[in-house]
Symmetry: C2
Subunit: 234 residues, 2 copies
DNA sequence: TGCGGATTTCTTGTCGACAAATAAAATACA
DNA sequence: TGTATTTTATTTGTCGACAAGAAATCCGCA
């Protein structure tokens, strides 16, 4: 019996099954363990999670609501594709949300928020130091998510979370195929953003957020546009 | 047998049940037929819709994902409350999305989009002319939704749709309790926005969207802050 | 061999039923 | 009479099974 099955089957509480399936699937999708386009079979999942199809289905409905899976009527649901054609709309929205959440955090944060943000930044710095790409991607997401929480606008936060998750998939693609050295620059930029937020300097926070977003967008763009042709003779 | 039951039961196609329940509940929530806080009983709904609890449940999960209902574990799910305490975050996000979608529409629309937008505007004008508050609220939402579609950014669009829906509930509250004459000014502002979009004048579109958002925000604010004390002796 | 139609298989959508958890009611007791 | 505790009742969460729809397979025929 695998670890997942044990955790799932050993007298789980009523109502916890859906959350477990949801969290597990979500992580597997965002870490590209389940690549875009993978079919998700309900009975197979129900066997693996050792529970009925009903909670599996509910988790899939929730994931579909967040755009992480696509449900084809009367056919298998698949992991949502990454829409490389409309990446610019993603960049546009991501940049705007970086700016808005950082601005709002500078305006409305309280001391407790700062502690949480600094804790996430410490974990991010440790991941970069250890050159652990996966941990870096996840902690980077948590860092910015905590800033959004400090901004206290749930509408921006929910959109931003969705964008950060989608970005997690794209970044995962990037760092798995292209073993660049991890960007220490991001650690410094994060520190500067924290300082601006703590000082309640909205203008500086905005400027830093914009620059930070540009950094990430350019990284991804250079990856997408990179020349992958092999130098072979034909 | 009621109309709803007939529509639902008469050989409905496989997979259409969920959509029907979802659409029906959604409309009833947004039109305040189901006021915030109302409990939603699954078996009662399944009898009314003459189908099993399974599709009902799936519809409720989707509605919960959009924040229209709140699920209390092991207890009845209720229609989501309107958070008057944090209304300013709603206004902030709504204004920004008005601006972004209108700007993008001015930049990226094509002739077919304009036709759709103009059609919605015609319906909106007719509703205002007829002094039909409910129709005005619904067509106003559709008008701005079609502008968002023309802007072609699905991330902004989905957030904007959510905000417009929430606004539909708030406006419904407003026009039901306070029989003001309906604002003709909105019709003119819509026409100006269409003209700016058609001319691809991004700056003007932005300015008009901002002003339009301010109008609506001020209307709602004056409603929320209105003095409701009755002049009675005690 | 290639193609169209029938058949089979496989997966999902829906159903009715049971069990767990909570709320409401009833009872015991001070 | 009021409060704590047990009992009942109601509502949700989960399950296994069946049927519908689509894809895959098989078969007949040119």
């Amino acid at each position: 019996m695998t670890q997942a099955q044990e955790t799932a089957s050993n007298d789980r509480k009523r109502g916890s099954g859906v959350k477990y399936v949801y969290d597990t699937l979500r992580d597997e999708i965002l870490d590209l363990v389940l690549p875009p386009g993978s079919p998700i079979d309900e009975v197979q999942l129900s066997e693996r999670m050792s529970m009925s199809r009903t909670p599996i289905r509910e988790a899939l409905v929730r994931l579909a609501g967040e755009g992480l899976v696509t449900t084809l009527p009367n056919r298998s649901t698949i992991v949502a594709h990454i829409d490389f054609m409309n990446l610019y709309t993603f960049f546009d929205a991501l940049t705007l949300m970086y700016r808005m959440t950082t601005r709002l955090a500078a305006e409305y944060h309280d001391p407790a928020d700062l502690e949480i943000i600094r804790a996430h930044q410490a974990r991010f710095a440790a991941a970069v130091e250890a050159q652990d790409a996966l941990a870096m991607i996840a902690t980077n997401r948590d860092f910015h998510a905590s800033i959004a929480e400090a901004g206290r606008n749930p509408y921006y936060a929910s959109l931003f979370f969705r964008l950060l998750d989608e970005g997690r998939r794209i970044l995962r693609l990037y760092y798995s195929s292209y073993q660049d050295r991890l960007p220490y620059r991001f650690v410094e930029e994060h520190d500067q953003m924290i300082a601006a937020i703590a000082a309640r300097d909205i203008a500086t926070a905005d400027r830093l957020a914009t620059a930070h977003a540009d950094q990430i967008v350019h990284q991804i763009q250079s990856f997408v546009a990179r020349d992958r042709r092999m130098p072979i003779a034909i």
